[in-house]
């Protein structure tokens, strides 16, 4: 089974391997259809009245996996990586939202968007420079940064192109909005580090730069830096993953993902934004009149039903509708669900905790009578803002603005129970 087990000299049971194989086939079938007919009593080898095989031999040794990984039966729950791209240095992979429960994204499934690949950084050699409009320019080691008073907070990060306005044909929830993930982050408030260097009165922006091969650069307004911005070194209790900026990244709750600069090596305090390539050529929103909106930082309120969702299949009768909602402007106050293609809406239940600028889980019990329909969700945040539909959004912004698409996502349910993307003609 696992390498550790063999090396550890524990029992190697052929029976166990046999089990694994058969189980995988069974689970695979169940996941796909969800409608495996009730088996005849006694015909299931590991169901009653039989004693399950896995109860008849000791399991794997304690410590057989020094760093635990998911069950082999969960092999299909992986990042959603686009196939056949010309290069994977500047590209993205998505969180499999439809496979997850709750509001926390497992670290190995956090979405990725890198512009110069994933650097492998030795934290002992990594340095953060803080300079510009400060009293004392500083060099900080990772050990230095971890000495500052720390804080932990749960926040989502979302790529602003999630998805582009012309990329609404994805099959799964992940294809559509899988560039959002949520974690508990630990680090030091950015304002603490800036105060250590001493801000000069003319300080209005902080230009953050990554230590990756893109030296990715974004300008952050000083009011955000002095509000809830953090420099984080941990993610869900462990050190940041390389894909999330190990050993240090910026966290700007509610702001577009690209600004949350990973592999942070430099903070330049300035009077003006840098107008870097990533805040002029990219991450600006093109309007029908030819202008482009610049410094569109906030991710507006959004939601998606993750179950049932595209490529899944439901049975008649009781189904729980569940999904996630979030807003860069604060807490989610309400999620409504429509089970009749938007004609009427029902308020869904919000799972506590409902945190500011974090994913919020919603649920609605539903009995499906077998009639084809479409199911939708729409989120409202604490500012009173309501998630718009695609038509309303594109009437104002056209089809070419690419970023900040927070449209309502409809899932179509066919008579067979098959669920598919409501934007795609059946």
């Amino acid at each position: 089974m696992s390498k550790g087990r063999r090396d550890g000299g524990g029992l190697e049971s052929p029976q166990r391997r046999h089990l694994l194989g058969r189980g995988a086939a069974l689970v695979g079938g169940a996941v796909v259809s969800g409608t495996v007919a009730a088996q005849e009593a006694g015909s299931e080898p590991n169901g009653p009245p039989n004693i399950p095989d896995w109860m008849k031999v000791p399991g794997a040794d304690v410590g057989s996996e020094p760093y635990g990984t998911p069950s082999p039966f969960e092999k299909q729950v992986v990042r959603n990586i686009p196939k056949g791209l010309p290069q994977y240095i500047s590209a993205s992979s998505r969180t499999p939202l439809q496979e997850l429960d709750g509001i926390i994204t497992p670290n190995g499934l956090f979405y990725e968007r890198h512009h110069g690949g994933i650097p492998e950084i030795d934290p002992g050699q990594h340095r953060l420079m803080v300079h510009g409009l400060v009293e004392t320019p500083l060099i900080l080691t990772m050990a230095d940064i971890r000495r500052f008073p720390s804080e932990s907070r749960i926040h989502f990060i979302e790529c602003s192109g999630n998805p582009g306005f012309e990329a609404m044909s994805g099959r799964t929830a992940s294809d559509l909005v899988g560039l959002v993930s949520c974690a508990e982050w630990t680090g030091v408030p950015l304002k603490t580090v800036l105060a250590e260097a001493g801000l000069r009165p003319e300080a209005k922006w902080v230009v953050a730069e990554g230590a990756d091969a893109a030296a990715l650069t974004r300008s952050i307004p000083i009011d955000k830096c002095l509000d809830d911005a953090m420099l984080v070194y941990s993610q869900n209790g462990e050190r940041l993953r390389p894909q999330q900026g190990y050993p240090l990244r910026v966290l700007l709750p509610g702001f577009e993902g690209n600004m949350n600069v990973k592999w942070l090596r430099r903070l330049n305090v300035t009077a003006e934004p840098a107008h870097s390539r990533e805040e002029t050529s990219k991450y600006t929103d093109s309007m029908p009149d030819g202008t482009a909106r610049q410094f569109t930082f906030y991710m507006e309120a959004k939601s998606i039903i993750t179950r049932p969702s595209g490529t899944q299949r439901i049975d008649r009768g009781y189904n729980e509708i569940t999904g996630i909602a979030w807003s860069g402007h604060g807490r989610i106050t309400q999620v409504e669900v429509s089970v009749n293609d938007g004609r009427t809406w029902t308020v869904a239940q919000l799972q506590a905790p409902v945190l500011t600028r974090a994913l919020t889980r919603f649920r609605l019990p539903w009995t499906w009578d077998g009639t084809p329909t479409a199911i939708l969700s729409r989120a409202t945040d604490e500012t009173g803002y309501v998630q718009p539909d695609f038509k309303a959004l594109t009437q104002v912004r056209g089809m070419k603005s690419f970023y900040h698409n927070n449209a309502i996502i409809p899932w179509r349910i066919a008579e067979s129970g098959a669920v598919s993307n409501g934007f795609v003609k059946a």
Binding site: D144, A274, T284, G290, H329
Partner: protein, 185 residues
């Protein structure tokens, strides 16, 4: 409260006060001062006016040679695009149904070209070009876009002086912008 949240990106008021407040927190005596040579070596972001552009220069002709060997494999011989993005053309297309966004049609500031190429290109060997080479390929890309003549030699002053066609094409964030979406609490 609600209106400040709906119009969150207002930089004006309270900044000096905020900076003062940040400075009021205790200093922990963590880290060490950065020296001027250390800062000079790492401080690579170039402002839009090009004040921070380094000394050095490069010609369109040198840029053409460099581009052919270091950039064309991804961006095409004439910057028409390939694995890498299209770098040339599209002027006048931004308000059409098919905007073509390139250095020539979309980028607002020429110094950003130096900044980006120096930090990030070529994709497979970033920070490998010296200052003169970065000026040269920048000059060549600007020339391909009709923004400098074929005999141009570009340095800090002349790069900063290039007025990009889309200089005034950017506007600030007006969101929330979709009517009817804000509901009273």
């Amino acid at each position: 409260m609600a209106s400040s949240k709906l119009r969150p990106f207002v930089l004006a008021a309270g900044l000096a006060a905020a900076a003062a407040a940040a400075n009021a927190s205790p200093r922990y005596g963590i880290g060490r001062p950065a020296t001027q040579p250390e800062i000079a070596a790492w401080d690579i972001d170039i402002d839009r006016d090009g004040r921070k552009l380094p000394a050095g220069q490069g010609s369109v002709a040198q840029g053409q040679i460099l581009f052919a060997s270091q950039c064309a494999s991804c961006h095409g011989a004439k910057g028409e695009g390939g694995t890498g993005e299209r770098l040339v053309g599209g002027q006048g297309s931004l308000a059409s149904g098919k905007p073509i966004k390139t250095v020539g049609s979309f980028w607002p500031y020429a110094p950003t070209l130096f900044d980006y190429i120096r930090r990030a290109m070529p994709l497979n060997a970033p920070q490998s070009l010296d200052t003169d080479a970065v000026y040269a390929v920048s000059a060549y890309i600007l020339h391909l876009n009709g923004l400098v003549p074929g005999d141009a030699v570009i340095d800090a002053a002349s790069l900063a002086a290039v007025r990009m066609p889309n200089r005034d094409g950017f506007v600030s964030d007006p969101r929330p912008d979709v009517p009817g979406e804000v509901r009273p609490r």
